[in-house]
């Protein structure tokens, strides 16, 4: 069985929003990383990951998300997250991801703070 992750990219003048749908495991994490690295190579410095349609993550997927954050930090940019389920939020905190990325309750709050409004 497979639980493919889908990623939709929404480019904005000041950055990009990645909307994920599905399971963030090793394959899903790599899919997000591919999209994020393409954006970084294109000069994008702010990426918001909206996880509204992701209900399950695993530790391998999160470790890939941390790698993306580190790579963005090396480039002087910023990764943020919004719309996490309570359990994914808790999992991010346990994995240490919350130490490196801001987590917003809503997309609106994130867009305002990151200046990503269209």
């Amino acid at each position: 069985m497979t639980e493919e992750l889908r990623v939709a990219v929404d480019r904005r003048p000041a950055g990009a929003i990645l909307h994920t749908k599905g399971y963030i495991n090793n394959v899903g994490g790599e899919e997000i990383a591919n999209r994020a690295y393409e954006l970084m190579d294109d000069g994008v410095k702010v990426i918001l990951l909206n996880l509204k349609d992701t209900k399950i993550v695993n530790s391998i997927g999160i470790s890939i998300l941390i790698e993306i954050i580190e790579k963005m930090m090396e480039k002087g940019g910023r990764i943020a997250f919004c719309c996490l389920t309570p359990v994914i939020h808790k999992t991010f905190q346990i994995m240490g991801l919350a130490n490196y990325a801001t987590i917003y309750d809503s997309e609106d709050a994130a867009l305002n703070d990151l200046n990503l409004k269209a």
Binding site: E3, Y23, N58, S59, T85, V87, T91, I94
Partner: protein
């Protein structure tokens, strides 16, 4: 405390990619039947996923199977309790050594947090491992406070 089994399920699953999702969904269905809340089910699902991934990635078992048992009962206050057993017939591991190794690797090493996540998401976790394999027994309570007082 008296534990009366209201719902039981046993599964044998092949070690194929994403099989952990099937395990988590099956446990979630049973937990819903006994009335566990969505957030508690979600936490349990994430713990089961980590346990299945550990079995698939590290057990090295010849039969390439994960054996699962879920039991739904009720606490003394009437709230649901779910017991989960996840077993592989692999080579086993030394839990103390695994914890020490993980600590030595430090926070910069991003992998190897499966047991930590299981412990954070479940109310009780017991790992029994030997040369014949590993069994992880985890318990999720709807109301953990009741267990501390009863």
């Amino acid at each position: 405390m008296t534990m009366t089994a209201e719902r039981q399920m046993e599964l044998t699953l092949p070690m194929v990619p994403d099989i952990e999702i099937a395990a988590a969904r099956a446990a979630g269905n049973l937990a819903r039947e006994v009335g566990m809340s969505a957030e508690r089910i979600d936490e349990m699902a994430h713990a089961i996923i980590e346990a299945c991934i550990n079995a698939r990635e590290h057990s090295g078992c010849a039969d390439q199977r994960i054996y699962l048992r879920f039991v739904g009962t009720y606490q003394s206050d009437g709230n649901p309790r779910i017991d989960v057993w996840i077993t592989d017939h692999g080579r086993g591991f030394d839990l103390a050594e695994a914890r020490t190794r993980r600590q030595k690797l430090g926070p910069a090493y991003k992998r190897g947090r499966g047991i930590q996540l299981m412990e954070a998401h479940m109310d009780e976790v017991e790992i029994i491992s030997g040369t014949a394999g590993t069994t992880i027994h985890m318990v999720k309570y709807e109301n953990p406070a009741d267990e501390k007082t009863s």
